[in-house]
Symmetry: D2
Subunit: 265 residues, 4 copies
């Protein structure tokens, strides 16, 4: 299990959310309040959009709290759309290649969750990645595999549907050859224009996911960044949202345990 | 605050204490039970004695739990005298040079504690290190400085007295130009033949320190490695022990707050 | 292209070969004399056998010359059978998981060379690894893949033949979907009792490989460690050797460009 | 010996100079053409000015060529004033704290050279740093010490004179207690408005230093970035320049071997 947050709206310094909140992402790396894994210190990553269509990535396998470069970059970088993640490994190595967010073309993606029995299904998962996208397979996580499979499902034209189909495929693989819990999924992804986020699980325990709409933009986060609870809305399991920082549109993502649901057709 | 443990006795694999106990050192790096700092993930270090008179060091600024080399080395290395430390920085950088144990000649040293106002007194502390030992000043911690000052005080011939005099000097400096708490000190050091350990504070809050005598040797540890509480003896604040693995001899170290005590003459 | 060396014979300190020779392995990491890649600074690794049947690994993505732990471990560790490698990446990431030697059970393996067009064939290569060995697939190199495929071909009972069949399979894949040079291969591997080494290429440019037999054992090395040229014997391309430190037995490995050769049956 | 470059002028992507030149800084990290140290792979650093008065730093002890974050940041970051450095250690540890550029307030500084016998004079050098600046003493290099001493000499109001006085003090210390060469110095520093650079040695071997004035700004570099030799002007030993990107003003820095020169009064 991991923690993450994302921002879309007016440009702001990354440190405002990554470092300076009561329950900032770096604070969550030491002391997450929701979920079973208080320590998320197996690496971290930032992705932000600026002048170029592709995001800029800064990722490192160290704990977020002790990385001097992270403090520098978060203090000096402004962006109107950024994602940030702190990792708690569920088994794969602590290495830069396994740090979220993952990127391909304009897109980036970060995930909190797992596919049960990942180690047993890893080779098949690698085989499911579209051949033309395998040069983007750098690490060993199921998260990165889901992202690349979603690309093959048409992320560009159907950002939420394609992600749902990828999640379903990996869940089905886990159901056949893996182990429970087959799928736990809270994720956030972006093409540089909008943020997309979804929450889902094959059982009743979808990882936490919240958002907050302010005057200047929208924050999506694994847990509230401050104690103003009324401001933070929980994304229900099985649902997705998309937002450009002004509007937040919700839609169904996947039904738990169902096999023939619309998005998965 | 940090956590550490040491062994002197029959040769044994390092992993038996570093990894395989209920409350092993690696477990303490995630979840220390005693003291205010449950996470000790700002680097770690091992020092073990084998064929050569000087110890072998393996140190890294990563969290102990995610270092694949540590698992390998602890699984394959046997030693009759070793020290191991996980660090929680009290301010100085997370870098290999600040990882304990520190070494000079046959000696190594590790510490849990601090000199209050370290940043204000650091330049003077650097000036107090004997000139001939400054080539061994690699990092910026007060711990390393205490060790090198103790060398100048005659560690070779008076291992406990010299350490006491070094601690006093640094406490006095903190009292003049630093801040409370002037000195918190739990430490363990060795010349390859015996382990020495001492506990002390300028106030009432000396960091925890325990030992356990078994059939094959003696463990010294920041906290008990298992729940058999009757087996673990607390070293009282102001006291020191020395042990070759067979006998444990206790002696006074330093009196809290006193200025003209015997060992400090 | 990379550089490596190995020793089997009387126990000796690793530093004697890794650090203290005229053209030691660490010297080769800065300034290799043979081949096109003078700098081999994309990580390094050691594997040595001691009490346990499996080797102990120490690997890191830093340049060998600047790693303080390497100096310590090589200075303090003695072994009668060890392998050491410095890496020059041919494309895959500089990460610990891509550092040689690779290990599985009692075996370890290190390689200098490449399969042409590796990035185009990587997914198929991953698919060729026996399913039961995929948990040992940690990185992305063709070297690790060859090693795991060789395991599937029966490394335990036929150490040289199995390796030959693995190399052929990967060469054939490169020939179909990769690029020239289809295969360049100089490698050394061990089960803890003997060293095996082989040299081969699909063209005329097999990477260099030498050995030297002394009173106390045998060194295998990418290039001579000193200027006493008469002492160093070149292993011919297409050949393999095996040695227990006393005897060196040579045998055919693979014929360049042939398709139906004995060892590949 | 190290390599560095700097830019002041119209905002441009860092990668244009750091990565994309014939003899870019990353190329110099593998294969410097001038000087005795072709490999400069003991860490690197970037400092660039953007919205805030202080520069943003990204530094890491890895070789510049294998750092994925460096490629990302240099590809995505534009700045009108930046400095970049690749390090070849002359003795001190390969650690982030020893990577250039060094920073204090608005200023940053990078250096190629050494004070002879640094290890013998290091403690005295530490003592020469103004007490109020010792919190900025993070590493162990003479370079960082010179920078902090220059601050004490009035860098803010007299950027070139203060640096000269600092260099002289350190040279004098080396002359008394160190070793030849007493001082080798090529450096570049900035307050966010201008670039300053100077070249000097206590003997005849000042490290190389060049600049090139173009339509949009000025590059300062340890060696020409391309083969258009007529465009690159060498800064003579004993001289300094300052430039805002439009004008380049030259002035005397220090006379070699003299003791009572104007700037050193």
């Amino acid at each position: 299990m991991c923690r993450f947050l994302a921002w879309v709206g007016s440009p702001r310094y990354l440190e405002e959310l990554v470092l300076n909140q009561e329950q900032s992402l770096v604070e969550q790396s030491r002391n997450a309040l929701i979920g079973k894994t208080p320590i998320n210190a197996d690496g971290f990553g930032l992705a932000w959009y600026s002048q170029r269509p592709e995001p800029c990535f800064y990722k490192d396998p160290r704990p977020a709290w002790s990385d001097a470069n992270l403090k520098q970059l978060a203090h000096h970088t402004q962006s109107g759309l950024f994602l940030a993640h702190v990792r708690a490994s569920t088994g794969t190595a602590t290495s830069r290649n396994n740090c979220h967010p993952f990127g391909m073309d304009r897109w980036c993606f970060m995930h909190n969750g797992q596919a049960g029995g990942h180690e047993q299904i890893r080779q098949q998962l690698d085989g499911m990645i579209p051949a033309s996208h395998y040069t983007h397979r750098f690490g060993a996580t199921e998260s990165e595999a889901i992202f690349l499979i979603a690309h093959g499902e048409g992320l560009d034209t159907d950002p939420i549907g394609a992600m749902g189909r990828a999640v379903l495929q990996v869940e089905d693989l886990s159901r056949k050859n893996g182990a429970i819990p087959f799928m736990r999924f809270a994720a956030c992804w972006s093409n540089g224009e909008k943020l997309f986020a979804a929450r889902y699980a094959s059982d009743r325990f979808a990882p936490s996911l919240y958002y907050r709409k302010g005057r200047n933009g929208v924050i999506i986060s694994s847990e509230p960044l401050d104690a103003e609870e009324s401001e933070w809305l929980e994304i229900p399991s099985g649902s997705a949202i998309e937002t450009d920082g002004f509007e937040v549109a919700a839609c169904p993502f996947l039904e738990a345990g169902a096999q023939g649901r619309p998005n998965a057709a």
